[in-house]
């Protein structure tokens, strides 16, 4: 299996959480053998106290652990705004439990003993999901920064362009000449790094909800 993840600068890492050292070691060994780095935690508490790596990653959680269970940890992570994907491993496939975990955003719910390929696929999926998530976050951040550079007038023009208005209509709406609209528009497109209306629209879509509603 190829463990390269295109489009990501950093090497991915899987974070294993299991109270059983043997299982922890074995799963980590299996992931290492396909080139995925791992980091192990023996309890949910340890995870919450640790500084988690800023890399494409995923969690592999044992459901049944003394103290905080895997499901408890999932809740805590979400409450802390950590959206790293989670693969659950459980000794006994409890349907109700897996439904709960999946609803809460888990990528997979596997029953021990799990086949190696199933497990590795689940982890790869989770990591791919995380990479996509991280990229989306990065792009959104870039677009938000671009948006910040716009002047008030340019922002007004952007809003109207997104709304599908022609230059003439924009000029009428803002009470300025069409020439000026064209000037603002080209500046705006440059600042937003958009070559076409489609790209501009994608960037607009990635902006935070509050910005789009014009709450500032």
């Amino acid at each position: 299996m190829d463990a390269s993840f295109p489009g990501s600068g950093d090497k991915p890492i899987a974070m294993l959480v299991d109270d059983d050292a043997k299982v922890r070691e074995a799963m980590s060994n299996l992931l290492n053998s396909v080139g995925i780095e791992t980091i192990s935690f023996s309890s949910a508490r340890e995870v919450l106290e640790a500084k988690l790596p800023d890399r494409p990653s995923c969690f592999v959680l044992d459901v049944r652990m003394p103290g905080l269970s895997g499901l408890d940890l999932q809740r805590h992570l979400q409450a802390n705004g950590i959206e790293t994907p989670i693969v659950f491993l459980t000794g006994h496939g409890d349907i109700a439990m897996s439904v709960e975990a999946m609803k809460a955003g888990a990528v997979d719910f596997l029953t021990k003993p799990v086949r190696d390929q199933t497990f590795l696929d689940a982890v790869s999926n989770a990591i791919a999901t995380d990479i996509a998530r991280r990229e989306a976050t990065l792009t959104a951040r870039k677009h938000a920064t671009d948006y910040e550079t716009l002047t008030q007038r340019e922002r007004q023009v952007l809003r109207l362009v997104i709304g599908g208005a022609l230059n003439k209509q924009i000029a009428f709406e803002l009470g300025i000449s069409e020439i000026t609209v064209k000037l603002h528009r080209s500046n705006m497109m440059k600042k937003m790094h958009a070559n076409s209306i489609t790209q501009l629209f994608t960037a607009w879509q990635s902006l935070p909800e509050s910005v789009r509603r014009g709450d500032e």
Binding site: D19, D20, A21, K22, V23, E25, A26, M27, N29, L30, N32, S33, V34, S42, R64, P66, L89, G91, H92, K112, P113, V114, R115, D116, F119
Partner: protein
């Protein structure tokens, strides 16, 4: 006349001498008068009467003089040496003398004392007595002065520094030979420390009484013959008795009152224990139900001990009753809950244990699977990573050992738990088990047929384990009949003695039957959708550990019969006792020992 005068001598020689002289003068006057006045027969008589009157006056005068002489003579300061505070008064109460110690105490100078004396006040001591005590002291003083009775009074007297101390004043009247009061003599003794000690004693007694009346216990005291001498307030309130009503009666009346309030069921034991204690002097100790004021019977923990004098005679009985009704009820509730829990546990533990065992095996199994795959990948890598592969192989061996350990521990759990074996009646065990699952039978609309051999001998076995086996078989049978038509759902349990050494228990159902009646006892083999296949495997372990055998017979479509046999004689009890918690304990151990490499 001279004879009369001579008689006057008895009043005092001076008076007598004067009277004789007077009588002589009178006689001479009468004589002279009769000579000078011839016709004065009447005059003579008059002179005679006058002389006699004068004589009487003289006598009286002397008597008074001699009395006062006596009074004042004694007024000399002869009491100076009296220890303590001494004083003396005239019969009318005026101050006559106060000794220096008393003067010093109240801070009077001699001049001031003289002034007081001259003032002639009959209650001259008033300024020195505490205002609160004044009225009573005055009344007593007046009473004594008028009646002559001795004065005994306690009052606070002001010291020279203004502080008051308690004194006991006692005074008696001094009388002359005619019984007339000539003076009052008094001493005043400092009793302040005594008064304070008494007050402290009263206070501590009060506190003790308050304590006894406040503690949440019913306390009583009784005389050696059983008459109550004291009942504390909580006791009176609790029982609704009145202090006066019950404590004034005789011992037997009181006993009757108490015994009547004891719960009828407890009366004989209560009466026996009480009379035994009062007879022998042994401490009384009994838990019984007593009627409270509201009419409810409540559990009481009663205890009593005798107080004896140095000769060992009982002086007093001290008793305490504690209302333990709530504790008793809580205990009873806890006992019932325990029983229910134990029954529920007995019914549930086999499946619970199976889940736990499955989890136990799952962990090493998962590790083996993952490591074996990793092993393969390390070898297939380009270039192959032999170092990691070798380490992985070591881990695989270790994990397989751990799995084998789990299996061994499970086996040990059933083969070595012989320490709790005792003779049990299988028929009884079966009847009780059927009660435990009666709700399941009802829910499954299953008719139960029990065919027990009444002559079944007892077997030496672990009761709980055999119960588990029976429960498991009965549950399996119930579950096997889920799809059987209701009228045909019959569960049959039979016991019989096969020969002199073995007896058999057969559990039959009318379910779908068993396809492979040999494999069903293997671990992890199951015919159920949600089973994990440990139940019958454990049953077999248990039965074989008891020296018996278990087998199944089935006619497809007509149900199955699972039979187990047990030896009549118990197998030798030479096995090591084992803690049943081993499985759980070792589970914790394997869970938290991170590095355990094979030796």
């Amino acid at each position: 006349m001279i004879a009369v005068a001579a008689a006057c001598i008895c009043f005092g020689w001076k008076a007598g001498l004067l009277a004789i002289v007077m009588a002589g003068f009178a006689a001479a006057a009468i004589e002279t008068a009769s000579d000078t006045i011839g016709a004065g027969g009447w005059l003579r008589v008059a002179v005679f009467v006058a002389s006699a009157f004068g004589l009487w006056l003289v006598v009286q005068l002397f008597r008074v003089v001699s009395f006062y002489e006596q009074v004042y003579r004694n007024a000399q300061p002869t009491m100076e040496d009296i220890p303590g505070l001494g004083w003396s008064c005239y019969p009318d109460g005026r101050m006559r003398f106060v000794n220096p110690k008393a003067l010093e105490f109240v801070g009077l100078t001699v001049e001031e004392m003289k002034k007081l004396m001259e003032a002639g006040d009959t209650a001259w001591w008033q300024p020195f007595v505490h205002p609160d005590d004044l009225e009573r002291s005055l009344a007593l003083w007046k009473h004594s002065l008028s009646s002559g009775e001795p004065l005994i009074d306690e009052q606070r007297v002001r010291r020279h520094d203004g502080t008051y101390r308690w004194f006991r004043d006692s005074a008696v009247a001094s009388r002359d030979e005619h019984g007339r009061i000539t003076a009052w003599y008094g001493t005043t003794v400092d009793i302040d420390d005594q008064r304070k000690a008494e007050a402290a004693l009263r206070e501590s007694e009060q506190q003790l009484r308050q304590l006894i009346d406040t503690v949440p216990a019913l306390i009583w005291c009784a005389t050696p013959d059983g008459k109550p001498s004291y009942l504390n307030q909580p006791l009176l309130r609790w029982t609704g008795m009145s202090q006066s009503g019950e404590t004034t009666g005789t011992a037997s009346q009181f006993a009757a009152t108490i015994i009547e309030a004891v719960h009828p069921d407890d009366q004989p034991s209560f009466q026996a224990a009480l009379s035994q204690s009062f007879k022998s002097g042994d401490p009384f100790m009994l838990k019984y139900r007593l009627r409270r004021a509201d009419g409810n019977y409540r559990w009481i923990d009663g205890k009593a001990e005798p107080l004896r004098d140095t000769d060992g005679r009982i002086l007093q009985w001290y008793g305490v009753c504690l209302d333990i009704h709530d504790e008793m009820q809580a205990q009873e509730a806890a006992r019932l809950a325990d029983e229910r829990l134990a029954r529920a546990l007995r019914a549930a533990s086999l499946s619970e244990m199976s889940v736990s065992i499955a989890h136990e095996l799952n962990q090493p199994l998962q590790a083996v699977v993952a490591n074996a795959n990793a092993f393969q990948r390390w070898l297939r890598a380009n270039p192959p990573n032999f170092e990691r592969a070798s380490r992985t192989a070591e881990w695989i061996i270790r994990d397989v050992d751990a799995a084998a350990d789990v299996v061994n521990r499970i086996r040990a759990l059933f083969t070595q738990a012989g320490n709790s074996r005792q003779p049990i009646q299988l028929n009884t065990v079966i009847n009780e088990t059927c009660e435990l699952v009666s709700d399941k039978l009802q829910a499954g609309k299953i008719r139960l047929e029990i065919d027990l051999d009444p002559a079944l001998p007892s077997v030496g076995a672990d009761r709980v384990q055999i119960e588990q086996v029976v429960i498991n078989l009965v549950r399996n049978a119930i579950e096997a009949m889920q799809e059987t038509p209701v009228h045909a759902r019959i569960l049959r349990i039979a016991t019989r003695l096969r020969n002199s050494e073995m007896l058999e228990v057969a559990v039959s159902d009318r379910g779908h039957g068993i396809d492979d009646s040999d494999r069903i006892f293997e671990a992890f083999f199951t015919t159920k959708k949600d089973g994990i296949g440990m139940g019958l495997a454990i049953c077999r372990s248990v039965i074989e550990a008891h020296g018996g055998r278990v087998w199944a017979e089935s006619a497809p479509g007509r149900g199955a019969t699972v039979t187990f046999s047990l030896p009549v004689q118990s197998p030798e009890r030479d096995r090591e006792p084992i803690d049943v918690g081993t499985l759980v304990a070792s589970k914790v151990q394997t869970g938290h020992e991170p590095e355990r490499l094979p030796v």
